[in-house]
């Protein structure tokens, strides 16, 4: 979904603020939330479902909420007033044919699904080069909605100028891990 969580390239958030001597948890409840997630992720929901639950937070709330507040929101969505059914194992990774190989030139599809996706907006419709092949991993776009499909995943390298235009650094690059469904050959 084209949500507020998809932040790559957005303007207006200001400088990065570093907290000196930051504790691991700022309050015990943050640790509780982290622990509840540890004990339930993978057993009662997949991480893709967890991420998608966070993405469904109303945008104004998402921006205002702290990190563990978002997690708490998602855990309540997934665990309260639900059947708490254990999900089955993902099973062994099948052998999946990889359509692309390192060095291949690819173009990302211009996909705008209303559901979950891990194709960030800033790399849609862009040309890049496959650097490495990994996976197969479950395709998040389907897995977040209860359908398991294993696909190869590719680290695709984009020049900063392809993504951000002439003003971008000539020698800067961005590598993004992209599932095969997000890619097509670049002729």
């Amino acid at each position: 979904m084209n949500g507020i969580h998809d932040m790559g390239g957005m303007h207006g958030f200001g400088a990065v603020v570093v907290e000196k001597d930051e504790p691991v948890f700022h309050a015990r409840w943050e640790g509780v939330v982290r622990a509840l997630m540890n004990r339930t992720a993978g057993r009662y929901y997949h991480l893709d479902e967890f991420r998608h639950a966070i993405e469904r937070m109303p945008p104004a709330e998402y921006i205002e909420a702290g990190y563990y507040e978002r997690w708490l929101y998602a855990l309540e969505e997934l665990l309260v007033d639900t059947s708490l059914a254990q999900r089955g194992e993902d099973g062994p990774r099948p052998a999946v044919h990889a359509r692309f190989a390192p060095g291949d030139r690819v173009r990302t599809r211009n996909l705008n699904p209303k559901g979950h996706t891990r194709l960030p907006r800033y790399v849609r419709g862009k040309r890049g080069v496959v650097r490495t092949v990994s996976g197969p991993f479950l395709l998040p776009d389907k897995n977040a909605h209860g359908v398991r499909e294993w696909q190869p995943c590719y680290a695709v390298e984009f020049s900063a100028r392809e993504l951000w235009g002439e003003g971008a650094g000539e020698r800067d690059r961005v590598c993004v891990d992209l599932w095969e469904a997000y890619l097509e050959e670049d002729e």
């Binding site: 303007h11 990065v16 907290e19 409840w29 982290r34 004990r39 205002e64 708490l72």
Partner: protein
């Protein structure tokens, strides 16, 4: 503290007001009670997990890995080929739920890690991420103006250095293997690990040799 399951009825209603910390704590504890009642966890599990993140899982693991790779070419080779196995080789746990890829800084090539969509982070080797890593400024700008972000961290790279930004969008997690700084020849793993900070392994800093130690 109420542990009734009904106390999340305000939950996710519209008209959001900034939530007081006490409310968040109450909601977290109510959820814990629900899961305890359902037999999904015990309160001791929560304490154990919190203690693990506060004491056992942190950047000292990544720093040890980096130091070993600096001192042992064969280990470095194994680390770059199969990072989870190389981490386990040093006696640490690496979960099977994610994979780890180690990005090698080289002369003229600098790597920087971000997750623009959420906050994916190699917590098994670096511990839990700092707030700035999860913040909107870092997530939005690391991919579009990495050099400006690095400058805010006090790191100014030469113009001709290539900056590779890695947006962790899949099941892969990334950790940077910085270049070994000059002046550390003959140092032990322990001495080397002491100069490898969390920020070096995210890519927003470089290892620095403290003057006093370098002059010995």
């Amino acid at each position: 503290m109420s542990h009734s399951h009904g106390d999340h009825e305000h939950h996710h209603a519209g008209g959001h007001q900034p939530e007081a910390p006490g409310d968040l704590e109450a909601r977290a504890l109510a959820l814990q009670s629900l899961l305890v009642e359902k037999g999904i966890l015990e309160p001791a599990d929560v304490d154990r997990i919190i203690a693990a993140y506060e004491h056992d899982i942190g950047p000292m693991i990544g720093a040890h890995v980096v130091a070993r790779a600096w001192n042992d070419t064969e280990y470095r080779r194994r680390l770059l080929a199969d990072a989870p196995a190389a981490v386990r080789e040093l006696g640490y746990q690496y979960p099977s739920s994610t994979h780890l890829v180690v990005l090698e800084n080289r002369p003229g090539v600098h790597n920087l890690v971000v997750c623009t969509l959420c906050s994916c982070y190699p917590w098994a080797v670096l511990g839990l991420p700092p707030t700035w890593y999860k913040s909107a400024p870092y997530r939005s700008r690391a991919v579009s103006e990495p050099r400006a972000v690095l400058k805010e961290f006090g790191l100014e790279l030469p113009e001709d250095t290539v900056v590779n930004v890695w947006d962790s969008s899949s099941d892969l997690r990334y950790m940077v293997l910085p270049e070994r700084p000059a002046g550390t020849e003959g140092w032990s793993d322990e001495e080397l690990a002491a100069i490898v900070s969390r920020d070096c392994m995210i890519g927003v800093a470089l290892p620095r040799v403290p003057g006093a130690v370098a002059a010995r």
